[in-house]
Symmetry: C2
Subunit: 106 residues, 2 copies
Amino acid sequence: MKKSYCPIDTFINTIKGKRKGTIILHLFQGTKRYGELVKLMPDISERMMSKQLKELENDGLIIRTVFPEVPPRVEYSLTQLGIDIRPVLKGMYKGGLLFEQSIEGG
Amino acid sequence: MKKSYCPIDTFINTIKGKRKGTIILHLFQGTKRYGELVKLMPDISERMMSKQLKELENDGLIIRTVFPEVPPRVEYSLTQLGIDIRPVLKGMYKGGLLFEQSIEGG
DNA sequence: CAGCATCCGTGAGGATACTG
DNA sequence: CAGTATCCTCACGGATGCTG
């Protein structure tokens, strides 16, 4: 993650990746396994899912925990930073609903 | 603007364009002329500025008013929809600050 | 003053196949 | 199960110049 000209751009650049917002939204429900996230979001390929997850991890928003089991198990959960932006994400969700209403309304 | 799989993606897709967040932030201060916006954001080219402004207009977030004068004058202001998302944008701004702190903190 | 036209490079993201 | 590797496309955005 790189500092931008304005904090709002820092924020946008961090969460604008493909379906990142939805991934975080799902993690608000609690820790999830990789396969669970894939099933929850059938429209994104596994390549994209792992890319986005890795970026979110690098940006300090989520934690990746590997369990040394067979078959392998990997769980994803939010960091404190990820939890902190929950109200913002909720606001964005509501904002998205507003936008969609304004489409339908013409 | 196109409806997405999840409202939060609708929102992100609408404001993820280059410097759109900052443009809206400036318009919270009140109506601004095209040249004012350009001066406020020297790092983005005029081509980009007019592109972003047009997209924001198409998405129903800002209003473009042309004054039939010589020399020409064009003013940009927020629509009700643009005003409605003010708290969200403010939250994103604060979230961006959090992210930047977490960079500096390591 | 407030743009648009044109050209072009880059990288985000899609499709498919393979692996520890 | 949870990824990675490879290849490819196209639209986002940069640079520059022109116009009503």
